[in-house]
Symmetry: C2
Subunit: 422 residues, 2 copies
């Protein structure tokens, strides 16, 4: 055989004509063959499928969740989250097991790439600020602290963050880029934002066009009374103002299924989803779809989730009751402290000005670990040294009774020591 | 009852004394109670455990993988990865299901926080560069392209990247911050870096002290011949030069278990791990430990993984054989193209200068999808228009025979068309 470079032009033309005939034959077969990506074959995936027990690995539409693909989540889990959050499935991006990670990634994305096509990355806009309703969630504050935002505390009242403060900062200062919100059963205050507050968020006119509301709806379905709080859907509220692009909403099944192995999601406007998916396509090939399927199959729909939450409530409610009854019995009427009595969520917020650090110190020395005093404030700075977040879900009712009894003793000691030293 | 503010000092002292007695009693009980975090209780986790079938959820040491905790992975999976990568378990950080995501996050971390305590974030160092051995992995290049690095192609030869080029850029230009490497069965070339190349990487003296080698050992155990390539352990090589902090190694089970739901890991020096874990602690509460446990239980140890890889080889090897035999039969001896014949990995790399775009176009029109020509080069720019990455794992042997037959026809047509037009 000769090499092709030795062919004369007529020889080459002749061979080419024969090849074109063969090519036409291939074409007539209407082939659909894919050699684009290094995807394992079904046979290869079958090698490990015993690991899954008898769990399904195909979606209703036959997509194999063991393989690559479906960057933003399988339809089944998108539909489930969409129903729970009252948005459309194409306003949902499903992530890994951590909504905190999704919030972190949204901040990172805004810092490095900007919040939309063509917008200036936050890192190129000098010193930035973030609004932090207080008391709030320490892990939110940790993200904005890590990236050097100046965090501005915003006081909370019974309806949510003080909106005058929010507006004063957000509407007058372009360096204010966002706000952390836990709008239902807030961490730690247990406050559900009132309809007025949600509407005022929707109506916000931030000075920075790349301002984002981080709406961490961590406790969207985490009610434990028969008359649960009802949170207005912020995206509905935004429709009136055309402000839907301002909101990133987050949720997860961490406290519905498994805190170590749940499924997280982001809800956002179609425009935001489109942009975020583009960024995400560079970040990962896709999250764990088998876990998404596992969850979608187990819960089926929002009603399935709500039924599950009633079972959680049956476990949790007596724990909150225990703590609150003891607080009431031991500290009630003494005029020394206040605490919340939430209808859902995960925390009781306790306040005794000037005493929080001492209480946690006394408790710790007697074997009771509490969230460090100050941790519900940016930089861990509770100027009033007042707030302590009490997390009643993990211990048993019996343990909680002991723990809360001890807590009250510590609180009274701290109060009296302070009073006597003044 | 009076409020405490109405107490006289003697009354207050008396109450305090009683409280101190109660407090001592609590102390004498040696309590260990935890109300710090909003962790669900075991009873709550049990509500969803049916979702797991009969899979275990506790590690050998009794850690409940359903709950929060263990940021950097359960010991069982760390040990497994450590054995596979020949490092110590405390040099392993386990992630989610995507090693690409871990690489992305390492780049993000370096950009925003720097590569170590006190080092200057990359974003504050002006225009940056990254070395890209070519042909290489498009998803690597996509990350550095997204963040605006100038990507410098480094030619590959049979032993790996051309180290003179690597040194010329890395050792003389502080803006060169890293290099993408797939050191075993490189994507797409199938090259395993020689011991010399690995040692020269270890001996590299980059101008930038925050230079990092992204050592994507994606195909660490993905052999499919009886005489597999052996990659020198770069961390061992680094010991001689004290350069271990320069390397981030990545691996995953994506092509061992499930590409959509495997477990990924990062191997790095203890110093790097300490720093990265600190950053990670702000990013997430932890990755899916149930999936880690599922994998650790299924594979048990490195030998279990190697046994699994032999089964993969039995499926994959005939597919590579099919493609290579047909390439040889149809194109061999014609002097028009070259291709690789790897001993492992996922790709065959095909070269025909000046013809890659035309080949993929012809193939596409006849129903065969190929990775876009150019995608193995930064910015999709293959100046020689030569390289095509062939991925033989997904189709069946029968489909591959058809696909490769068609591919060869397209290649010959492209060659002859080009020849006749010159």
């Amino acid at each position: 055989m000769h090499t092709y470079s030795e062919l004369s032009k007529p020889e080459a033309k002749e061979i080419l004509a024969e090849l074109m005939k063969k090519y036409s034959e291939y074409k007539s077969k209407n082939l659909s063959l894919d050699m684009t990506r290094g995807k394992p074959s079904t046979e290869q995936l079958d090698l490990s499928t015993d690991m899954l027990g008898d769990s399904a690995y195909k979606t209703g539409k036959g997509v194999d969740c063991r393989n690559y693909g479906m960057l933003d989540g399988i339809p089944e889990i998108k539909e489930l989250f969409a129903e729970l959050l009252e948005v459309s499935p194409d306003e949902i991006i499903v992530g890994g097991n951590s909504s905190l990670n999704m919030m972190h990634d949204c901040v990172v994305n805004a810092l490095l790439m900007g919040v939309s096509e063509g917008s200036t990355p936050w890192v190129r806009q000098g010193k930035l600020k973030f609004l932090c309703p207080v008391p709030g969630y320490d892990r939110h504050f940790a993200i904005t602290e890590k990236f050097g935002f100046e965090m501005i505390p915003v006081p909370m009242d019974g309806e949510g963050p003080d909106m005058d403060t929010v507006r004063r900062f957000a509407e007058n200062d372009r360096s204010v880029k966002g706000i952390w919100c836990v709008p239902k059963y807030s961490n730690p205050g247990g406050i559900t934002y009132s309809d007025r507050v949600v509407r005022e968020f929707a109506a916000l006119k931030p000075a920075a066009e790349d301002f984002r509301i981080f709406w961490d709806n961590a406790y969207a379905v985490h009610d434990f009374t028969d008359e649960p709080d009802k949170l207005l859907n912020i995206f509905d509220a935004c429709k009136e103002y055309g402000s839907g692009d301002m909101v990133y909403e987050f949720a997860s099944t961490s406290k519905i299924s498994f805190s170590g192995a749940g499924v997280a999601c982001l809800a956002a406007s179609k425009e935001n989803c489109k942009y975020l998916k583009k960024q995400l396509s560079i970040q990962t090939i896709g999250y764990d779809k088998l876990n998404q399927l596992r969850h979608a199959s187990f819960f089926r729909d929002a009603a399935g989730v709500r039924a599950q939450m009633k079972k959680h409530a049956a476990i949790i409610a007596p724990k909150f009751r225990t703590v609150i009854d003891i607080l009431e019995k031991e500290l009630g009427g003494k005029g020394i402290a206040s605490w919340t009595n939430p209808k859902g969520g995960y925390f009781i917020s306790f306040d005794m000005p000037g005493c929080a650090r001492r209480i946690t110190q006394l408790a710790s020395e007697a074997g009771l670990s509490l969230t460090p005093a100050g941790s519900t404030f940016p930089y861990g700075r509770d100027e009033a040294d007042s707030n302590i977040r009490i997390a009643p879900t993990l211990p048993s009712v019996e343990e909680l009774a002991v723990a809360t009894g001890l807590f009250c003793v510590c609180a009274e000691i701290a109060y009296l020591e302070k009073m006597l030293s003044e």
